[in-house]
């Protein structure tokens, strides 16, 4: 195995008195696809948001691409350049066109010129299958299309790591597949991905490692096969039986 690109050691996080993350340890290799799942309130979103410092962890260390996350603003900026994120609610900028949404980061953070940024944006839109929507506003697109634009926006920064925070949870059922297809293609291309999701079909097909979170801890981890076929912990078995029943 090559060297890990994300290293988390004993990560803790409190919201006031509430202990949201209780000592998470995780290593993610380059090109690895990690799926994090678990009941709501288990801290999985909180954890993934710590990786690019949307949330601040209060104890332990997180090292991303060789840079340790600390209060140093330059470190945070450097990590955010290398880490793309896709949100449950898409969070596209409603006042900008699809094209402007995608090129904003490359132009102002990567300092590319506009032509180069737009060319790459067009390529990305083709990759996610909606090149014809480039000059529309997000409000004119369907949820699935918006989420694909959000993926393109994150990819436009040419990140080394992509974080997905429940990317399909806010979508209508018939739009989930188009987003998962894009993510699957991305995983096959060798992108390092950390995905919080309840899409177990996707996890089984794509994940290298799965982590089951409960009450701010990693209860169990392993390959999809280990998790689905031979879960060790009772909590994991119970959760899986509940979400796989129908």
């Amino acid at each position: 195995m090559s060297e890990p690109i994300i290293i988390c050691r004993d990560v803790h996080k409190w919201y006031g008195q509430f202990h949201a993350l209780r000592g998470i340890d995780m290593e993610v290799q380059k090109g690895e696809v990690v799926v994090i799942f678990g009941p709501s309130g288990s801290g999985k979103s909180t954890f993934i948001r710590c990786i690019n410092r949307l949330e601040e962890h209060q104890r332990g260390t997180i090292i991303v691409d060789g840079i340790e996350l600390s209060h140093d603003v330059r470190n945070i900026a450097a990590i955010r350049r290398e880490v793309g994120m896709v949100f449950q609610q898409f969070n596209l900028f409603p006042h900008l066109t699809v094209m402007q949404n995608i090129t904003l980061g490359p132009i102002y953070v990567r300092k590319w010129n506009k032509d180069k940024a737009e060319e790459i944006a067009m390529q990305l839109l083709e990759r996610v299958g909606i090149p014809e929507q480039a000059h529309k506003y997000p409000g004119q697109l369907s949820g699935g299309q918006q989420q694909r634009v959000a993926i393109a926006r994150a990819l436009a920064m040419q990140p080394k790591i992509m974080l997905f925070d429940e990317p399909t949870s806010a979508l209508d059922p018939e739009m989930i597949k188009e987003v998962l297809d894009v993510m699957e293609e991305l995983a096959e291309s060798g992108m390092t991905m950390m995905v919080v999701t309840h899409e177990m079909g996707f996890a089984r097909a794509v994940a290298d490692t799965m982590y089951f979170f409960d009450e701010g801890q990693v209860v169990e981890s392993g390959t999809p096969e280990q998790i689905f076929e031979h879960p060790q912990e009772d909590r994991t078995k119970l959760f899986l039986s509940q979400i796989l029943q129908h």
Partner: protein, 403 residues
């Protein structure tokens, strides 16, 4: 499903209602007995009010106090030899309005043609207006029409120049109205000679142009995570909002000189303008804060996640959305600010209201309050309504309220 759809149903257009005047009247005004009575009563009332109004305007009222002093109302004591500067600015103003109309709206509208017709009608009517004045008004018309057609012809290419022209116009106004140097080209016209509508508009423009950025900064400061900045902004906003504008104006005029070292004086108009700006900025800040709070947290997070720094996040993501959301409120405030400038008359400046009071003090015009105040009310209304109308257009153009 047990049944299958064998033949698809036709796609039909929505039913249309035929429009007839009688049909409209019946539906809207005479639907029921009660409606009919209401319509008749309010119709009679409107006719009565209009009749009394027009009778007063055309017969009872004596308009000498207005028509004799049009120059004073418009520009106060501004020297007649420098009138051309004001007209020049008016031409430019008309050109800009025409351009904006052509570039951003791209269609002719009744309101525009009515406004353009005003000088022509005045000229035909031969109201006590000097030949030069209506000639100037006609040139303004021409400038507006040229701007409109240019804008319609090259909407894409002229978009940026138009916006630059609008931004440049404000400093240009100050520069040209004030002038510089002792003599020669554009000699200095000191502010004590500025007056009438000219002064009112200048104060309003000053107030709007400067209070806006200050207000935005205060709003951002109030949201700041740095306690010193936050406290400072909160204290400023709450103190200013707790004080009437008139007291700020009096403080500026009467108290400020005590604090300044001997020999240094600040122009009275500037002192008034600063008081207005300080006052408006505090209210502006609260309105902008309302806009900022309407932006969902996800927008901040998305901006962070793509790596924008704090300034970029505000400039590209948060402020455009926040300000767009509060355009109606801001324009309402601008209108209020324009009318509030009339308070400077109470500290002795000769703005539109100040001039009106001066004219009423003239023994020749004793008892002509009604005419004079009706006239300046009309002027205030025209400008306020123009702003209101403009903002409505702006909202439509920017798609406020739709996502």
């Amino acid at each position: 499903m047990t049944t299958t759809l064998t033949s698809q149903k036709e796609i039909l257009p929505p039913p249309t209602e035929r429009f007839t005047i009688l049909g409209w009247l019946k539906k809207n005004l005479f639907g029921t007995w009660f409606d009919a009575i209401l319509t008749v009563v309010s119709g009679l009332f409107i006719i009565y009010v209009l009749y009394m109004g027009f009778r007063w305007i055309l017969t009872t009222a004596q308009w000498a106090a207005v028509t004799d002093n049009l120059q004073l109302y418009m520009k106060g004591q501004y020297p007649a030899s420098e009138d051309w500067r004001l007209w020049l600015l008016m031409y430019l103003f008309a050109l800009i309005i025409g351009l904006m109309w052509g570039v951003f709206l791209r269609r002719a509208e009744a309101v525009g043609w009515i406004l353009l017709a005003v000088p022509v009608i005045l000229a035909l009517w031969m109201v006590k207006l000097e030949r030069a004045a209506w000639l100037n008004l006609l040139i303004m018309d021409a400038a507006a029409i040229v701007g409109y057609f240019l804008g319609r012809r090259y909407p894409q290419r002229l978009q940026r120049p138009t916006i630059i022209l609008i931004l440049l116009y404000m400093p240009l106004v100050i520069l040209i109205v004030r002038g510089f140097g002792e003599s020669g080209f554009l000699p200095l016209v000191t502010t004590n000679l500025w007056g009438g509508l000219l002064l009112s508009l200048l104060l309003a423009i000053f107030g709007i142009v400067f209070s806006f950025p200050v207000g935005v900064l205060l709003a951002l400061g109030r949201q700041s995570r740095m306690p010193a900045i936050k406290t400072l902004c909160v204290v400023y906003i709450e103190i200013i909002r707790g004080v009437p504008l008139i007291t700020l104006l009096f403080m500026g005029q009467l108290m400020l000189p005590f604090f300044l070292p001997a020999g240094i004086t600040i122009d009275r108009v500037i002192r008034a303008a600063v008081a207005i700006i300080m006052f408006a900025a505090a209210y502006m800040a609260e309105n902008v804060r309302g806009g900022l709070q309407s932006i969902p947290k996800g927008q901040y997070e998305a901006a962070d996640a793509i790596g924008l720094n704090g300034v970029q996040k505000m400039v590209f993501i948060i402020l455009p959305q926040a300000l767009r959301a509060v355009i109606p409120v801001l324009v309402g405030q601008f209108i209020g600010l324009f009318k509030d400038t009339s308070l400077v008359a109470l500290v002795g400046l000769l703005d539109l209201l100040g001039i009106a009071r001066g004219i009423l003090a003239n023994p020749n015009y004793i008892g002509r309050q009604l005419e004079v105040f009706a006239f300046i009310a009309l002027i205030y209304w025209v400008f306020s309504y123009a702003m209101s109308y403009g903002s409505e257009r702006l909202e439509t153009a920017l798609g406020v309220g739709e996502r």
